[in-house]
Structure formats: C-alpha cells, structure tokens
Symmetry: C2
C-alpha cells in the first residue's frame, strides 16, 4: 500500500477513528421506560410523557408492592425490572462543580475531570447574583453531560445554605456566608441555575438541586462535640430571622426540588424526625414541590447516637410520619417494612414519600425513555471542561477575591517594573488545596505560582512543609525575599485545618506562618503582598498593623483557576471587587465564646457578645462587606422617600403587629413598596466592578439587629463612567423584624438606611 | 447535654462515624454465583469452587444459548440473570498504575486516585527486574482494592511490550524499549507481579494481565499513515528475533492470561485474522492458558478500513476461526450470530472462545461467590495510595532516571552550598505531563519545582507557554538564571508532541526550546543542569556539545513523584543508576528513514541504516545502555570459559544447524550452559546501584546482530564495597541466532562477550 497515494483517505479515516474510540469507552445513562428494550412498557401510563406527572406517578405507585416502594425510599434505590425501572443512585453532589463525593458520580477516561469553580464562600464574596446562577447553569450542563455517559445521576445534593454562624465551623467554606439575605439570594440563584431548563418548562428539571442542611446546622466537631448528636438550642426569633430564611427562599424563590434535613437536633428534636419542621413548614407552609431527604445515615444517628427512639422501627416511623421521603443510607430499607408490620407506619405515608420521589424523577425525564432523544440528550464529554467553562471558573475567582489592605497603592504590581518576584508560603504552589471540599477532579490546575509566573520571573520558597507549618524554613524564604522587587506570600489553611467533621479551635494562622510572614516582610525591599487562602476568617491583626506588609488579599479556596485569578488581581488585569461575606473575628472571640452557643443576639448579663455583623458589636479584624478596589466609587442619592405610612386597617397583612409570610405579603402589600435610586461614579483611573449595598438599621425594639442587609447590586463601570442603581424596597418584606415570638412586624419610627456610603433617614409611621 | 462530660463518648462516636461514612458511599464488586442472593445457584457445578476449572466451564457453557455465548465474546459482556451471571466489563488498563482508560475502571470519592508509577520506558531504564515485578504487585493490589468497591474490573490489558523500533513512535513511551531481551524480562516480570497470588496458587489469578499488541505493531499515525490499516512488511528473521520474543516470553515465562492482537496487518494479513499467528503460534506453540482479545474496534477496521473481508460476517468468522476469543468493541455481538447462520462459523469455535474467556474469569474467582470472603477480599480504599506505594513510585523514578552528561562532576549539587536555584522550562512545574499516557488519577503530584524547592530556595520561569514553545520568553528566564548559583532547565515533550495516534516527524526539542536552553546556559554563572522529560529520545547534540551545559538528565515521564525523584538525583540523595533502554538517534536519521520500513537490518544497497543498537552502526546522540553514576565501578573477571563445544550428534537440538525453540532447549541443553563470574567494586565515594550488562557479538553470519543483550543484573554497593555478579549462560538459548528463514542456530566461531566493561573471547566449536 503506497502511503503517499492514500494520504487523503488516511486523514479521513483518522477523523473517523478519533471520533469512534471514545464511543467504545462510553457507558449509557440509566433511565426507565426503555421502550426499545421492552416495547410492552408503552402500555403503562407512567411511561407516557404526554400525561401529567401526577397521573403518571399515581399509576406507577399503584403498580408497586410495599417492598418495591420501600426500595425507592433510600439513596441506592432498587430497580423494578418487571416495570422497566433500573437501579438508581440518588446521591450525587455539585457544590461548586460536579463532584466525586457521593456514589452517583464518577470520573473516568471519558470524562476525567469537570470544571471546579471556587469554593462557595469565595463565590459569595462576589456579591453577584447573576454569577451565582450562571455557575449553577454551567455545572448542570456538565452534570447532564456526565449523566449522558453514565457517570453521574440527575439528583444533586447542593447547595449548602446554612448560615456561617461561627468562624470555627469547618464547613463554613461551603456556604455563602453569615448573612441571611445573601444566603437566600445565593441559594435561590444557584438552584435556578442548576434546575431551570432552557426551554422554560417549569414543570421539568434540568437536574434536581437540594438545599441543605435543614436547619440550624453549623457545628461539625468542636472539641469532640459532634454534629451527629448536637442539640442546637435556638430561640424562635433566631430561627425565624437567621436560620430559616435561606431555606424559605430556596423553596419559594428557587423552587428547589429537595430539602435535606440535618444530623443535629433543634431544641431537643432531631430535624429529620420533627413533624413541625418537615410536614409543617417545608411541605405545609412553603409547599415544597419535591422530596425531603435525610443527611447520610442520620436516621441511624437518631437511633444509635441520640437514642431518641427506642427501636429502629420507631425511628423509621417517626421520620416518615414527620414528612421524610428519602433516606440517605439503608435505614428505611432495613426497618420500614417492620415499622409497617408493627402498625407504627401507614402505607399511605409511604405512598406519599415515593410519590414525591418518583415525581422528581418524572420531572427529570427519567421515565421518558431514551435521554438522548430528550432536551440535553446531545450533551456529552465535549461539553465538560470547555474553554468557556474554565474561563468562567477564573472569572468567578477574580470576582470573589477580596482586597483587604493596600497601603500606598502597592497593588496592582506592574509586570514590566517588577523584574523579580519572590513567591513564598505553604499555599503558593498548591493544587488540591485550591478546590476546597465537596470537590471533583478538576479540568486542570493553575497554582498561584503558575499564575504569577505567567507574567513575571519568580523565585519560590514554600517556607513551610505544609499549612500546619510546625517549623518555618525562614532563612531560605528571607534569602529570596531580600533580593526580589516584590514579595507575594501565600498562606492560610487547607482541609487539614478546617473541614467537614473538623471545626477549628483557634482562628490564627496555623503554626509558624505568622513568624514566616513577619520575618520575610522585614527583609523585603519592595511591596509585600499577603494572600490568605482559607475558608473561614483568620485573625491577622499583626499583618494589618505591620507597615512592611503593604497589601492583604483573601482568596477563599479559589478553585481550579485560582492561581490565574490571583495573578490577574495582583497585576491589575482585574480590578478586585469582592467583599467579605462574613465577619473576621479576633482570636479572643473564640477564646471567650462557646461554639455551641447558638444565640445570634448578645446577652449583656453574661457578656456573650452575639454573632455576625447584625448583632456583634465588638472589635473585628475585618468586617462583613469589607473590600477595596483599585478605583474609587462615589455615591450620590438620586431619590428616596423620607416617610412611609403603614395602613391603619387591622386586617392588613402589613399592619405593624401582623406581618405574616413573605409570599402572602407579595400579593397584598405592593402599594407599600418604594424605590431608592443611587448614582454611582467610578472616579478612579481603572475600570472596575462595584457592589452597592443597602442596609437598614431599624429602631431598637425587639432585640432587632443593629443593621441588616436589604439588597445588593453589582455594576461594572469603566473609569469616569456613571451608573444608577435602583433598589426596590418592600416595606413589610424588607423592613420588617421578627419579634421574640417569631412574629414579623414593621417597627414604627426611624430606620437608618445605609445606601452605599450614604445614610438616609426613613420614618415609618401608621 | 454537657459537652465535657460526654467527651469520651463523643470521641468514640467520632471514630465510629468516620468508619461508617465511606461504607455508605461504597459500591460492591460485580461477581457471579451470589448464593446469598440466589441459593438455587449452589446446585450448578460452575458455581462450585471445589471443582476444577475445566469441569466448571464445561458445565457453564453447556447451559448457555448461542446468543448468550456471543454476549460473552465482547468486552461489555452481557449478564445471564437466570444463571446469576452479571454484566461484566472486560476492559480495564493498568500500564503503570490503575488507569481510568477503559470503561471498566473509574475514580470516585471512595478512591479518588491510585499510585501512578513512572511511564514504562523510564521504569525499563532501571534495568531492575525485581522492581518490574514489585510495581506489578502493587498495581494489582490497588486494582483488587478498587474491584472490591466496584470501581475496577479484574482483567487489565497491560503491559505493552512492542519493540520501540523507531524513535518517532508516539507509544514508545509505553514500552520497555528497543531490546527484545529487556522487553521480554520486563513483560514477564510485570505480568507475574500483576497475576501471581500470594498463596502461590498458580491455577488462580490475582488479576489477569494482557500482553499487547501482537505483533509488529509500532506505528500509530505517521504523516497520515494509520495503524488501523498499516501493513507491516516484516521478514521472518526480524519477526523471530525482534518482534516475537517479548510475546513468547510473556506467555512462556510470564504465564500471561491474555494476548491482544493488534490493528495492523503483518505481511498482508490482519493480525486478528491470521490463524498462523493466533491459533498456530500463541495457542499451538506457546500454549496460552487464557484468552486472545482484539484491540478495540480492530474487527471493524479489518472490514471497514482494510477491506480485507467482503462482509462483516466473514470478518467475524475469520477472526474467531483464527483463534480470537474476545472482541473489544461490539462487532462480534453484531455479526457472530449471522456468521453462524450463514455457515461461516461453527458453534464449536464459539464454545472454544467462551471457554477460554470463562476459564479466565473462573481463575479470577469471579464464579466463586462473594469476593469479600476470598483472598484479597479485605483489600479496600485503605490499600490504595498508601505511603509505601507512593514511596515505591518515587523509588522507581529514581532508579530509572539516566544521567547522560556530567562534566566536572557538576552533579550532585550541594543543598547547603547552592543558595539560590533557577528552575526554568516548560516542564519545570508540570503535573499531568509527568504521568504520561494510559494514566489514572494519581494520589498526588510532586512537580520538579516542588521537589527542588523542598531542598533549596528556587526562582522559577517557565520560559515557554508550553512544550510546543512557539516563542520562548528568553529574557525573563535569563534574568533569573544570571543571578542564581545553579540552573535546572526542565524541557522536553508531553502528550501534545508524542502520544497514541500521533507519531513525531522530528526528534529535536519542540519549538524554541533549544534557543531557550542555549541563551539561559550562556548567562548562567554556575552549573546548568538540563533535565529532559520525554517518552522518546531527543536530538540534543547541541547540549552535549555546549560546555556551558554541565549535566544532562533524562527522566522519561517520571510519574506522580517525579519531581521528588529528580530532586533526589540532583541533590545526591540518590545516586543515578538508570541506563537508556533505547538508542537516541540524530535528527538526520528520521529525515532519511521512513517510519514504515520495518526492517531491523541495514541494507547496504539502499543505504538504509537499520535499527537499534543491535543493527544500527551510524552516529547516535546517546546509545542504548548509556548512563552515568556519581560513583565509579570497576569490573574484574573472576571466571569465564574460553571454549564451548557443541555436541556432534546431528539429532541434538543444540546442533549448530538444528536449534529449535527455546522451551525445547531448556529440557535438553542444560549441559551446554556455563557461567560467568564478575567482580564489581564501587571505587567511588558514594553508595550506588549499578547494572552489569552481558552482551555478545556473534560471528558475522546470517546478518547476525553486531551485538545483543544476553543478561543484566543490578546490584547496590556502598562506597568501596565489592560484589560478585553471576550470569548463567545457556549456549543454545542465549548465544543462538535466527537465520534468514527464522531458524535458530548457534554460530560456530568466536563470540565476543562484553561482560560489564570487559571483553572476553569465547570460541564455539563442534
């Protein structure tokens, strides 16, 4: 065979083969109602996509035995082959990218990695609601693509919207921070991104999200106190104005398909076994359209750790009767039948549970036959880790990074003037640390060192063997720092310091990191940039005070492209715009305050200082919403009312003492809205994004927060550009307070509105 | 609940929970004869582990329909639920660690990574036979551990033992190099490591290995010429003394459970459809105990690309009748039934094929019920990525790294004297590049920069955006090089340069890498260490000649711990002992020689220079077995015969003109063995390992190789220590040649034995 002659044929062949080989390695998605395999299924109503979900589920449930139904109440659901229903693994995760945590998702040569976005706490710092949703949308596209080749499920147990109540919490990194409004907006937006279909069909789901962990869960393992049996003592007031709002918003605004109940008890009752919290609130008040799932193995904890029930059957009955639909674990599989046999549990409750579970799967198209013929059926490995998706991961990190100190405009560094850069610290050249927990295998990594080296010549010394930094290698680090034009120190924590099942005890930088930083800063001849990579805040007062440390950046766990984003900010390719989504407390705070104290409000009688910017008045290292820019933005109030009258009628839902639920308000109180217009001008020399915040300080009644967030808007302005931000304020929804009994009220009197950098007095009267 | 009081209880609980959570996420291994699920199966003989394999397989095959049998002739084998047989995916890979290539293996949160050893070409450079086997043993342990949690299969299609015939071959990196003896020893040792059980039961397998790709396959895609239709024209002499020996050794010495036939044709016949090569040689002569599998989709290629057969049914019939047992792809599933229906294929051949397939699965314990109750049933995630396994990956890389130039003993660098080290080059801080192809997700990465930085302060510049190095960033690199006490340049290739389906055209360093190296070397004030990371050899004559470049190291693709191993060698924590397993040709060679020319021997009439150290006499950049040490080793011959007489009897198998197969020789020619004893002394100041080679240069008859390897032994000697190496030489097996007709003969006359650095004349006479 003459090679030259056959050239074009071979090239064609090459293309053909290259396309073919991956096909061989692919596996198929799991789905029910595969008519091509079993044409008889077409006679079943539940396999008919033209019927409504209710009819189909009802048909399906009527055909199942009790044992078959119980098999669909656990995450490893058992197939019913006579009805063409395969096994299904409910447990997949997608906190900030498709994750390998959870048995439903795996990586292989077909999809060796997925886009790994910043850990949520950093994304939250972007205060950019549309970014939250866009990330969710990309993640669900990659998830569907992986489902199509049999590597992922359709049900993802993300996001985590618990309030980051205490800086020590190892899972604070997973959350959108300490503020209920931010957490609400983040949760609803991310859920919409995951769930909403491009065809606008609200009855169907792209993938199913899950808001977790309901509720008042924010302690993992502090000094041996474990989430599995911790009893969170929460006041009705804190529950209603701090812990519950993100979940309420997730269901009502996000239309989430699932809520997960937590491990802990709330006021003596396990959340997964509390009929008021589940059937009462989630299903009854909020009208969840979806399923309630238990955290993994939490039923077992109720019985074995909490000893809340006397027998496993009681636990099974209690949880299902409380409104639980799905059990992560095998507990219901093992004990639900016995619970029915003993008369503790009625089959109608089981029917309700599996109806919710199957309805979710119906909305996902699981019962519509071959997924390749449905919307999203064309997604595949080519749609994972695309250039665009990876670029979004970088953009998200850039938007989140927070500039906390910048003396004498040390930043941005000029890539042309800086001839040599010393890069120092245990997190300076890390890969896995950047992607935080609930991670998947990323597409690729760009470490801080790699990112910085793309622009200038670098010298590098880790300074410590790892973040625990038992003994800093100070001499080596000083040696390179002394000769460099500028120094970037990348320090902080990783999953060995703060993680699931491990809360911190101290909130200073671990080990000898402070020594390393101070010694290096002391010998440096140029700017010293301190980059803190962490989930929670750090007491870095020494660095704030040290005149040799010119700049401080907090970068969270910035995801796969973190190093590129850090370099973008340091070299001014991106103007930082992130703001802290949580208070950075001093170490003295954690030495004084028990992590187990759930109270948000201070207690003057004990000296307990309270929590978060809404209630805590003590000293901070950095505060909620802190964050600098390379530009300056001026604010000018265009319009805002000075007076609002609440109607006199006693029956009006907005009547001061009678405010009820937000959804009710929306229908009846529109007339009580007003708007605030603020003109913002970028008066600096650099383009940049800028978040405008609207806070309110209500009258000091009912232990009201000193200040609380009503809204935020991010806008991008080129140098010297002006823009207008408009806040729509609903008096009852936004200005109301929760009283000690959990009732919402609008306080009469003077509310101080903090509009951007301005203050505006608003008088609320009858 | 009082925390302090409950402390110990919580700690206990913590332990319990930590142990429990992963269990939830685990999936189970796939296996047949699950009696706990289906007690009726115990009545079937094939489920009875006490019976012999032959009886069990025969019982099983007799119970299957033709269609069911055909379902077990493809890699995605179809379960037979009525007999308790699940689906099984035959295709897993473990070339240098458990790999995600192949649909049978996946990574998840349960096992997010596996130990990634150096790419095979570097491991081969260690010339350490026991290391080959030890790596195989660790890989099979991790593979079994992953099987136990449902993440891998039991049948691994590794190793690749094709001869690295041409430096351009993109898959040369996967092989043990160019020498048939080294490839034979590597293949047999790695297969033993994978397959051999710790209980010594030879009838059973730990996992099943597969030697591939049979045969004369070593061209992927060169200038558009594709492996899928390439017809390798091979002389009988080259086939018998170059291409076939590794496969023969793999079957006879390694007892491999499978051989894979390749895509290409050999002398006009597709290897998977050649009854002489399959049924004749593998099954008939070598008596393979196992299955013959086709490369993936190669049956389709025979029909659609090679047009070797007129119909798909003919292809199915031809391959199965030729001896093929298993088809990677779906071809046999689609066409075998029709081939039977048309009378082209007899069911007895199908019975033979599935008998071989099922017998392999029986030997793996697949039909013995619950794997957790069998040997290796206790392996799990804890046994993957252990500290020991990761340390072995580092040791393997250290043993393979080859020191090619070391003027004025520039290496090792002293970590105390070198105050600053410039680390430069596109491969200096890479992760994925280090693990080569047929990779899995590694446990972790240590890049060269990370490895070096662990010992000294470093400056780093990539110098090029990537290895293609379109435009080198020379200025930045020079800037840091000029100020450093020493420079390490890490250059070479990656999978964008040389990979499966992509052979190189040029063998110089890509793009402007040479420019970068030369300019950097020119401004450096101290030693310049050039580290070449690549699969194939590179024409780096310029670097050999440049007096500013003090040292050259070749590090292959050194695996997950590559950076640590490189640093170990550079700083003298390890004394280099690797030797090149292939010739490094000059660029002029590839400009003159067509890759398609399979001839090993030179052709004086055309100027064709021949291939490998055995036949090629032209200039090289570096040669087979080149490699320096930081120590010196002296050799002294203790004993060796000067004369060997071959018996006069014409019927003796060793009679000069009558030597037959090696296995036959072993029984009859023991008396014709002799031994060579060599004393080796480490006369240097540093401990180190040293490989002693035994070559022979036979009389110049029958186009004999100018020199060929008879044996190698590696030993470790501390400074000033002496040791003795003993080679056992079998005259017929080791000194024989293959003549032009493929017959083995012992040439009479003078054989020059190269014993270490010495030469010894051996006269062979009648």
């Amino acid at each position: 065979m003459a090679p030259a002659k056959q050239h074009s044929v071979f090239l064609l062949l090459c293309f053909f083969i290259t396309k073919l080989s991956p096909v061989l390695a692919q596996t198929k998605p799991v789905f029910a109602c595969d008519l091509s395999n079993n044409p008889g299924l077409k006679n079943y109503s539940f396999c008919d996509p033209s019927l409504d979900v209710e009819t189909r589920v009802s048909d399906l449930v009527s055909k199942l035995t009790l044992q078959e139904k119980i098999g669909w109440m656990v995450n490893g659901a058992k197939g019913v082959s006579r009805l063409g229903i395969p096994n299904y693994e409910w447990w997949s995760e997608a906190l900030h990218g498709v994750s390998y945590v959870g048995p439903g998702t795996k990586f292989s040569s077909v999809v060796p990695g997925a886009t790994s976005f910043p850990q949520v706490i950093l994304t939250a710092a972007s205060f950019n609601e549309s970014l939250f949703e866009t990330i969710g949308k990309v993640v669900s596209t990659e998830a569907r693509a992986m489902y199509n080749v049999g590597l992922a499920g359709l049900t993802f147990w993300s996001p985590n919207i618990n309030i980051f109540r205490d800086p020590r919490w190892g899972r604070g990194q997973e959350t959108p921070g300490e503020d209920p409004l931010l957490a609400s907006k983040y949760g609803a937006a991310y859920v919409r991104g995951l769930q909403q279909r491009d065809d606008g069909d609200k009855n169907r789901l792209k993938v199913a999200a899950c808001c977790k962990h309901y509720t008042a869960y924010d302690l993992d393992n502090w000094k041996g106190i474990q989430r599995y049996s911790f009893n969170a003592l929460v006041t009705q007031q804190d529950l209603d104005d701090t812990f519950q709002p993100p979940f309420k918003s997730c269901v009502l605004d996000g239309n989430v398909a699932s809520v997960m109940c937590s491990y802990n008890q709330v006021n003596g009752k396990p959340t997964c076994g509390d009929p008021d919290l589940l059937a009462g609130v989630i299903r009854g008040e909020w009208k969840l359209n979806g399923y309630i799932v238990s955290d993994c193995d939490s039923l077992n904890e109720i019985f074995n750790s909490q000893h809340y029930t006397k027998t496993p059957e009681e636990t099974a009955a209690l949880t299902v009767n409380s409104g639980l639909d799905l059990n992560c674990g095998s507990f219901l599989n093992d004990h639900a039948q016995a619970a029915v046999d003993r008369g503790l549990l009625n089959e109608t409750e089981i029917n309700r549970a599996v109806t919710n579970n199957f309805a979710t799967m119906m909305r996902l198209g699981f019962f519509d036959g071959d997924p390749s013929k449905q919307l999203y059926g064309n997604l595949g490995p080519k749609d994972v880790c695309t250039t665009e998706n990876q670029e979004l991961a970088r953009e998200a990190a850039r938007q989140g990074i927070v500039l906390l100190k910048n003396t004498e405009k040390s930043l941005p560094l000029s890539p042309t003037l800086i001839k040599s850069l010393a890069v120092i610290g245990p997190n300076a050249n890390v890969t896995h640390t950047m992607i935080g927990n609930y991670e998947g295998t990323p597409c690729k990594y760009t470490t801080p060192l790699q990112g910085l080296t793309a622009s200038v010549a670098t010298m590098y010394a880790s300074g410590c063997a790892d973040v625990s930094c038992g003994t800093a290698n100070v001499d080596e680090a000083k040696r390179i720092a002394a000769t460099a034009d500028a120094v970037v120190l990348v320090v902080g924590s990783d999953q060995s310091i703060e993680k699931e099942s491990l809360d911190r005890v101290d909130i200073t930088l671990p080990g000898q990191q402070q020594l390393l930083i101070s010694e290096v800063a002391n010998v440096s001849k140029g700017p010293v940039i301190l980059v803190i990579m962490s989930g929670g805040g750090m007491d870095v007062q020494f660095a704030k005070d040290d005149p040799k440390i010119s700049s401080i950046l907090w970068v969270g766990f910035p995801g796969e492209a973190g190093g590129a984003a850090i370099a973008d900010v340091i070299f001014g390719h991106y103007n930082p715009s992130g703001r802290l989504p949580m208070t950075w407390y001093p170490q003295s705070y954690v030495e004084k305050v028990n992590m187990t104290n759930m109270n948000m409000r201070p207690d003057p009688t004990t000296g307990y200082p309270g929590r978060t910017y809404r209630f805590y008045k003590g000293p901070t290292i950095f505060s909620f919403k802190d964050g600098l820019s390379y530009s300056q933005f001026n604010h000018e109030l265009v319009s805002a009312p000075k007076l609002v009258s609440v109607p006199l009628e006693e029956t009006h839902v907005c009547r001061s003492s009678e405010c009820k639920s937000v959804d009710a308000l929306e229908e009846n109180c529109k007339s009580l809205g007003f708007s605030i217009h603020l003109r913002v001008k970028n008066v600096g020399e650099m383009s940049g994004s800028h978040t405008v915040f609207l806070f309110s300080s209500p009258p000091e009644v009912h232990n009201a927060p000193q200040k609380h967030l009503l809204g935020f808007e991010k806008l991008h302005l080129v140098a010297q550009e002006e823009g207008v931000v408009k806040f729509e304020v609903d008096v009852c929804k936004h200005l109301s307070l929760v009283d000690e009994n959990g009732k919402r009220k609008v306080a009469l009197g003077e509310h101080v509105l903090h509009v951007g950098s301005l203050k505006h007095l608003l008088n609320v009267r009858i």
